[in-house]
């Protein structure tokens, strides 16, 4: 951009207030209608909704498999399904929940919808690429589902060699499906990073970026750096099965531990793909419902990046008993403890935000409180598992199962539900039944603890994970856990019920039901097709609750773009009276 030109615009931007419309006639859902407009849309909001529908579907598929697994474990021997079916069920439960639900849950579904709105952009940087990501996700899902019906997979979601390169079934098809989904994940990451760098509205500097965007930014970095390694690893497993290349097969001179290194180099950072965007959701909701500036903005923003960075250096803690060097294990153990620091920083900052805030205990915040308790347990037991001596005892027991469910379900699913409840009025324009939301949150919280707390106990007593049969002393724990899983399932069904019902019967939602200062709430109740009728101008941070609402609803007075990231918006030129 021409320097003289931009310096002449400096200090001269004329802004005016744009009040959001509570009940707009035209919005993104009714301007273009019909099935074809959905299938070919490049609108990030519609793509977000398509992701939301798809992941909900797969969440219930994965959940159903979990219930079947838990039901089978009611008795120590066979209850109602064969051992081989059981092996396939837990494999698919893991693979579906991780690759088809958790990884795309917050970034691809909620992130797609919210990110451009929070940045003041009309869309993500590459809308067509965004649609391609969705179709790749869908194609990968279909390939994975096809794999289930054409032989099934019994390797566990980790596809460990040499078992995965020699067992029967459709492992090659499944790895190809995951490969395609991984490609979708990479493209979403590329898209989001570019969007955050290049599409911010005038005045939206890095220190005013909402923390949800910081969370998505850190997640995208992990996605682009880790996912390609998984892709090549799974391609190698497929080659191993097709050509017998022998890279991972000891019989041909290869090394199965190399596979584990490759796999966990992706899959440990991937664990953070499944939690860091959740952290972003927590930051948004905590600040909104305590009506208070977020405590330690930079600490929270940078700790997301720190987690992303350290997350790449800890993969060896999955391999303490795989025969890696003792020195390597010690280094990995130490680095694993380090992850606790940025995570702890977040927890303390969130708690400090609540302190002396004017707290409104609405359902999104209630889900966040559930997140606090469950994620705390999940995080601390992670430290336990990161210590070498204890891990040798606890490795591959139900203790590990309980730990990662506390992080992924207790952490990410709770954060996802919180975000879904928080942004639901913006997405659908409807309010859900608040009482039912609170009851469902309670049921999920109770059901979750009943399911997974007994697993900590039996795990520490030596119950190995993935076993079809077990000794009788563990039966009470398994039975309590199974009952808990039914309660949990009931809670999720309730959420599904009242959310879907709200679309048809819910009260009309105002543009900003929570009184939030963030940019996505300063537009009409249902966003317009291109998000903003005006070019938004940002002079305050998204958490500046001490400033009046009208300072958050500014846009360029005249048409034109006022863009270029070197433009500084000052308050001199603004004209708040104009309407």
């Amino acid at each position: 951009m021409d320097t003289a030109e931009s310096s002449s615009t400096l200090n001269k931007i004329q802004v005016q207030r744009f009040k959001p419309d509570d009940n707009p006639d035209k919005h993104y859902l009714n301007e273009e209608t019909g099935l074809w407009s959905w299938l070919t849309t490049v609108d990030h909001k519609k793509i977000g909704i398509m992701y939301l529908a798809s992941i909900t579907f797969f969440f219930f598929i994965g959940g159903l498999m979990a219930l079947l697994v838990r039901t089978e474990l009611w008795t120590p021997a066979k209850t109602f399904i064969e051992a081989n079916t059981y092996n396939q069920l837990f494999t698919l439960h893991g693979a579906v929940m991780i690759f088809l639900f958790l990884v795309p849950s917050v970034p691809a579904a909620l992130g797609n919808f919210i990110l451009p709105l929070q940045l003041g952009a009309k869309d993500v940087a590459f809308p067509r690429l965004n649609l391609l990501s969705y179709y790749l996700y869908l194609a990968g899902s279909f390939i994975a589902v096809y794999a289930i019906f054409s032989g099934g997979i019994d390797t566990g979601w980790t596809f460990y060699t040499p078992y995965s390169s020699s067992t029967g079934g459709a492992v090659t098809t499944m790895t190809f499906g995951v490969f395609v989904i991984g490609f979708s994940s990479i493209l979403t990451g590329v898209n989001f990073i570019t969007t955050i760098h290049k599409m911010r509205a005038p005045g939206l500097t890095w220190d005013k970026l909402p923390l949800f965007c910081w969370g998505l930014y850190a997640t995208s970095i992990i996605q682009i750096l880790a996912t390609p390694v998984l892709a090549i690893t799974l391609a190698l497993v497929a080659m191993e099965r097709i050509l017998g290349i022998g890279i991972f097969d000891p019989a041909l001179g290869g090394d199965p531990v190399l596979y584990q290194h490759f796999f966990w180099f992706y899959s440990h950072p991937a664990v953070y793909i499944m939690i860091v965007p959740g952290f972003g959701v927590v930051s948004e909701i905590i600040s909104t419902f305590s009506k208070k500036h977020i405590f330690g903005y930079w600490a929270i923003a940078l700790s997301s990046l720190a987690i992303a960075f350290i997350g790449f250096l800890v993969w060896g803690h999955h391999m303490f008993v795989s025969g890696q060097a003792t020195l390597a294990s010690m280094v990995f153990s130490f680095l694993t403890f380090l992850v606790g620091i940025p995570t702890g920083i977040k927890m303390f900052n969130w708690t400090a935000t609540l302190y002396k805030g004017s707290i409104k205990l609405a359902s999104p915040l209630l889900y966040i409180f559930g997140f606090f308790f469950l994620f705390l347990v999940g995080g601390l037991t992670g430290i336990v598992l990161g210590s070498i001596a204890l891990d040798v005892h606890l490795h591959d027991t139900y203790y590990v199962v309980a730990h990662f469910h506390f992080v992924m379900v207790g952490g990410m699913v709770m954060a996802f539900l919180a975000g879904l409840h928080y942004w639901w009025p913006k997405i659908t324009g409807k309010m859900y039944n608040e009482t039912m939301a609170k009851i469902a949150c309670g049921i999920i919280f109770v059901g979750f603890n009943v399911t997974f707390l007994p697993q900590f106990v039996m795990g520490s007593q030596g119950m190995p994970r993935r076993y079809f049969n077990y000794i009788e002393q563990f039966q009470p724990f398994h039975q309590v856990s199974t009952i808990g899983s039914y309660i949990l399932g009931l809670g999720f069904l309730m959420v599904f019920y009242y959310l879907v019902k709200s679309i048809y019967r819910g009260k009309q939602a105002p543009a900003n039901p929570w009184g939030s200062r963030a940019l996505e709430w300063q537009i009409s109740a249902m966003p317009p097709l291109h998000n903003f009728h005006h070019t938004p101008v940002i002079i305050n941070g998204p958490y500046d609750y001490h400033k009046p609402m009208e300072e958050f609803q500014l846009g360029l007075a005249e048409s034109g773009n006022g863009h270029g990231h070197d433009v500084e918006v000052t308050k001199e030129g603004e004209d708040l009276s104009a309407e």
Partner: protein, 218 residues
């Protein structure tokens, strides 16, 4: 980086969600750079496997490398570097608004990529003829080492994956050539040429690593 000013008339390829052509150009370029990072990690897994096996069986790599034809590998290196030059010249032509030269340079790039693939084809089929197949299909007797198949598994995987990238690049070049013949590119708008050029340089650089790692061991 863009030479076009935002005050100029906006190109017909300007998309609705960008505020100006500069923003569109910068975003596309950044997106491609990030994608290239993922490509490096994609190949990185294979390079890591290469390092591990070379450390384990250094004598195997010296022995097996002799089966590869350094001359044709070298010719291919020159061909690819030449194609990187021509794609850079295509971008320069676009910046200078020499529309005819864009098409000529893209055409040469496409042809050089084709030469690379033809040479690669003859190298591979020659080895297949000798019984040098990847993995468990390996049946060559000429290398006195029990793990000789591992070297060639890596060779076929890495050059094969690189070859796939060359083929994708050829598809992109053909598309650009078609568009440039229709006169889509000028000094105001040449984003696809620029970012495909970036991709093509990466494909070139990966070969520049592959060539010494396989052909030039001792």
């Amino acid at each position: 980086m863009a030479n076009h000013s935002s005050s100029a008339s906006e190109s017909r390829f300007m998309q609705h969600h960008f505020v100006d052509a500069d923003q569109q150009f910068d975003a596309a370029k950044m997106g491609m750079w990030i994608f290239l990072v993922t490509e490096i990690l994609f190949f990185g897994g294979l390079f890591a496997a290469y390092v591990v096996y070379r450390l384990w069986y250094p004598e195997l790599f010296t022995l097996a490398s002799e089966e590869l034809n350094t001359l044709w590998g070298g010719v291919n290196t020159v061909v690819l570097i030449g194609s990187s030059l021509t794609v850079a010249m295509a971008i320069k032509s676009a910046q200078l608004n020499q529309k005819k030269n864009i098409a000529i340079n893209l055409g040469i790039t496409l042809a050089l990529a084709g030469v690379f693939m033809v040479i690669k084809y003859f190298e591979w089929t020659h080895k297949f003829h000798l019984g040098i197949f990847p993995g468990e299909f390996y049946s060559f007797e000429g290398i006195d080492h029990p793990k000789a198949n591992i070297f060639f598994s890596l060779y076929y995987l890495m050059t094969g994956l690189h070859g796939i990238h060359v083929v994708i690049g050829m598809g992109l070049m053909a598309w650009l050539l078609w568009r440039s013949l229709k006169g889509h590119f000028n000094s105001e708008y040449y984003t696809p040429v620029e970012i495909t050029g970036l991709y093509w340089h990466l494909v070139d650089i990966i070969w520049i690593f592959l060539f010494p790692l396989f052909y030039l061991i001792d």
